[in-house]
Structures are given as structure tokens and as C-alpha cells.
Symmetry: C2
Subunit: 234 residues, 2 copies
DNA sequence: CGAAACATTGACAACTTTCAATTGCCGTGG
DNA sequence: CCACGGCAATTGAAAGTTGTCAATGTTTCG
């Protein structure tokens, strides 16, 4: 039952820069979203090197974050030593916003990463006055809840289904068409899907053999037959 | 991979009664909770016989519900025919409140059940004026999110750990001390934990052999050694 | 270039599901 | 009241899936 768990300890310090990032810089979805606007108006940008911790599990959840560039993962170490990855956040995604004073997960940079940080109290204060913002916060929460519920549904499926789902999800979110450049290592994927690295690796190989995907390099995957992947998921 | 799935089809009609239920009637937690007060002020009570559907997956989520008596489960049929149970709701618990217009899960009465129903729009209207209520709604959402996240952590554990967790959770929520009167059948438990009935049954038998629990009848379980169960969870 | 980290593959073990049979429980009707 | 039927629960045996351990191959980066 004990999978190996990859626990990275990095003490790299983040670089804090005070200049403002124009909202348009992020994924183009900035306009018309009051939440994104608010974050960029009031926030400061910070840079984290690969594998650096952005915040720790149990720390006070005083800030909300939005990815500007790079990729972030949230994770939690289970009592048996394994690690569960809560999710991956790509440019434009918001993370770290909690409904209680402690972070449930920790957050780490998967690659060199830039994020915008804003104090939660500030966000809440504005939300008290701006209905659109508070509505947007509700919507964000709803999406987050749905995302976690989908993970529950995912975790009762077979290894093949989980991996197929992961590939389709990444392909859609990263918008690289059929080519996926994975920013994370196999261990991250395994801990996200509740599998071992070996099972993830074997499943990918098997999907490659059945011509559903192509493994150019271990980090670059091409979807050759999306519907085959979707059927697995079905 | 295909477990058997228990799909119950019942066409029993609910009984709608218009009289108000005094808030104190519910679990004693009514006072000081503006959300519970609001529900009972504005809501109507409905009765559902065992296994009746309260709302269906995909239906419009116009109402929020609170259990008065009995037990409710939410569930979803997966494309492969299996069923995933989202959660069990005991007297006092609120369910069916969504952030979008469709229900993600369906809800059924596990036993004969009485619930209070309130229109979501009414709740939201009041929340717009009453800060305490809107704060309570946020808190409820936060708890729900945490609950689902815990289920994610649960589903990556062994069958024994899942069953132990389930027993401890039920014992705590039903407040029967060490005696648990299970309102649901084994299939419900299995679909909640992402296991098969056989595995649940075997695990319970094994826990009974190791003297951690006692199976008086299949519906009545006595916790004999809570710390043994907790260690499994650890 | 070479070491270290990452990824893949194989063989085997452990856990869970599947299929099948049996037992126990409970309500209904004779 | 008891017997019967039906459903729920348990148990057994076998198969399938995933995890574990170990070896080998590959990539990355100083």
C-alpha cells in the first residue's frame, strides 16, 4: 500500500517584484473578469524557481494567487508518507483562495513560475462593495467544487481511464492542439491520479502501443486518437 | 472493473405539507444559525418514502434542502453503469444547494424522510441583505469543499482504511456513542467508498474478527476499539 | 563527459473484483 | 403460526489489476 512519495525540500527564496502586471498579459481573459482585474490592480508579482514552495499546508491563508507564467501544483503529504497532488494550475488559473484561515494543501512551483499575489482581506473588502466581483468569487468556488467532485469520480476508475482523462484534460487546458508538453514529472502525475509512477509509465506505454498516443519524449506527448481516449473515459 | 450497481427506480410521490417546522425541532442547532432559521422561516416540509427520488441529476437546482428526519444520499450514475454515492445527509444537514443551475448529483431518501425545502432565489435574496446569512452560506460551502477534498484523500487509501473511516465518521455524526445504527444497505456504503459490496462485507467481517468492531446485526455495528480503527486511518 | 535524476520494463506479490454459492433475515400469505 | 419467497449479506475460489522491488535505459545538467 505504500507507494513511494516524492517529497522535495527546496529552500529557494522567491523574488518579489512590486511592479504591476497589466491584466492583458494573462491569457487574454483579463477583460470583463472583475476578479482578475481586482487581483492585478491590487496585487504584487512574485517569482519562484522550480520546486520552490509558494505556501505550506497549515499556513495562514491570507493571500490568493494567480499564475502569470509557469505551472503550480498543490499537494498534501498523507500520514503514511505518500503525497496527494490536489491539482495543477496553469497561467490564468487562480489558487490558494480558501474559506478558512488555514491552507488545506501546500503549493509548489512545478517550473520556474511567476504569480500575482493579493491579500484575501482586500479582495473580500472589494467584493463587499462590488456585486460583480462577489458573484465572480461564488462562480470560482462553484468551479472549484465541481473540479474536486470530478476528481472523486475519477479516482474510482481504472488506471487507464485516469491516465486518459489526465491527457485529455491537459490537452484542453494547455491549448496545444494534439501536442502536450508536460511541465511535470511522472511522480507528479502519479500522485495526482492516485497511482504509482510505474503504473502511469506502463499505461502510457500501453496507450502508445495501441496507437492512441505517441511518446515523442517523456515530456512531450501527441494525441493520435482522441476518441479512443474518450471512450476509455466514457 | 464493472462492479454491480444498485439502481433503484421508485415512483413514490412525496407528501407536501405546508405547515412550518419550528427551528428547534432540528437537532438543537437551530438557534444562532441564520441559515437554518431562514430555511425554516421560508421553507415548506416534504416527506419522501424510502428510496424515493428527491431531485434528479441534471434537474434545475432551484431549491435547497435540509433534512428534518431520516437520511438522504446523493448519487450519480457513471457511464459504465456503476453508481457513485456523493454523500449521506443526516437530520440537520443541508444539501442540494448548488452554484450553478443544474444538480450535479441526484438525491434519494435512504429511509422514510422529511425535509424542509426553500427556494434558492429566496435564500440568495435574503443573503444579499443579511451579512450573517451570506457569511453562513460561505462557511457551508467551505465545509462542503473540505468534505469533498477529504473524500479524494480517502479514495486513494486501502479498503480497510476506507471502511474504518466510514465507521468513525458515522459514529461521530450520528452521536450514538459506540453504537452505530446504519440506515443504508451495504451497496450504498460500497458505492460511497468506491468498493464492491463483497469487499465491504469482507472488511467488516475481518474487523469483527480482529475485535475492532462487533456486528450485532448487519445494520447495527458496535465500535469496540476506536483507536484500532483510527490507526488504520492514520 | 559523467553523475544524478527521471523513466521504463520485468517479475512477482498483494489487494480487490468477479462470479458463484450459501446463509440469514423479514414480510406475506396459506 | 409457520413456510415460503425474495432480498440482503456473507463467504469461497479464481482472475484481474495495481503495487512493490529490482534492474536497465534515458535525459538533463553541471
Amino acid at each position: 500500500m505504500l507507494h513511494q512519495a516524492a517529497v522535495h525540500i527546496t529552500s529557494s527564496r522567491p523574488v518579489i517584484s512590486t511592479h504591476r502586471v497589466p491584466p492583458e498579459a494573462v491569457n487574454g481573459l483579463a477583460k470583463q473578469n472583475p476578479l482578475v482585474e481586482a487581483i492585478h490592480m491590487m496585487g504584487a508579482t512574485m517569482s519562484f524557481p522550480s520546486e520552490a514552495e509558494i505556501f505550506g499546508e497549515g499556513e495562514e491563508a491570507d493571500y490568493a494567487y494567480q499564475v502569470v507564467s509557469g505551472v503550480v501544483r498543490t499537494s498534501k503529504i498523507l500520514s503514511d508518507g505518500r503525497r496527494q497532488v490536489g491539482g495543477f494550475y496553469l497561467p490564468g488559473d487562480i489558487f490558494g483562495l480558501e474559506f478558512r484561515d488555514e491552507h488545506t494543501f501546500s503549493a509548489e512551483a512545478v517550473t520556474d513560475t511567476k504569480v500575482v499575489v493579493v491579500k484575501r482581506s482586500m479582495l473580500m473588502a472589494v467584493a463587499g462593495r462590488d456585486t460583480r466581483l462577489s458573484r465572480e468569487l461564488m462562480a470560482l468556488t462553484g468551479r472549484e467544487l465541481r473540479r474536486v467532485q470530478n476528481r472523486v469520480l475519477l479516482l474510482v476508475k481504472s488506471a487507464e481511464q485516469r491516465v486518459a482523462y489526465f491527457l485529455l484534460e491537459m490537452a484542453e487546458r494547455a491549448r496545444g492542439g494534439n501536442v502536450i508538453e508536460l511541465p511535470m514529472v511522472r511522480q507528479d502525475i502519479a500522485d495526482y491520479l492516485g497511482l504509482t509512477v510505474e503504473t502511469v509509465s506502463r499505461t502510457l506505454s500501453s496507450l502508445a502501443h495501441s496507437a492512441a498516443i505517441e511518446l515523442s519524449t517523456s515530456r512531450r506527448i501527441v494525441l493520435r486518437n482522441r476518441s479512443a481516449l474518450r471512450i476509455l473515459n466514457a
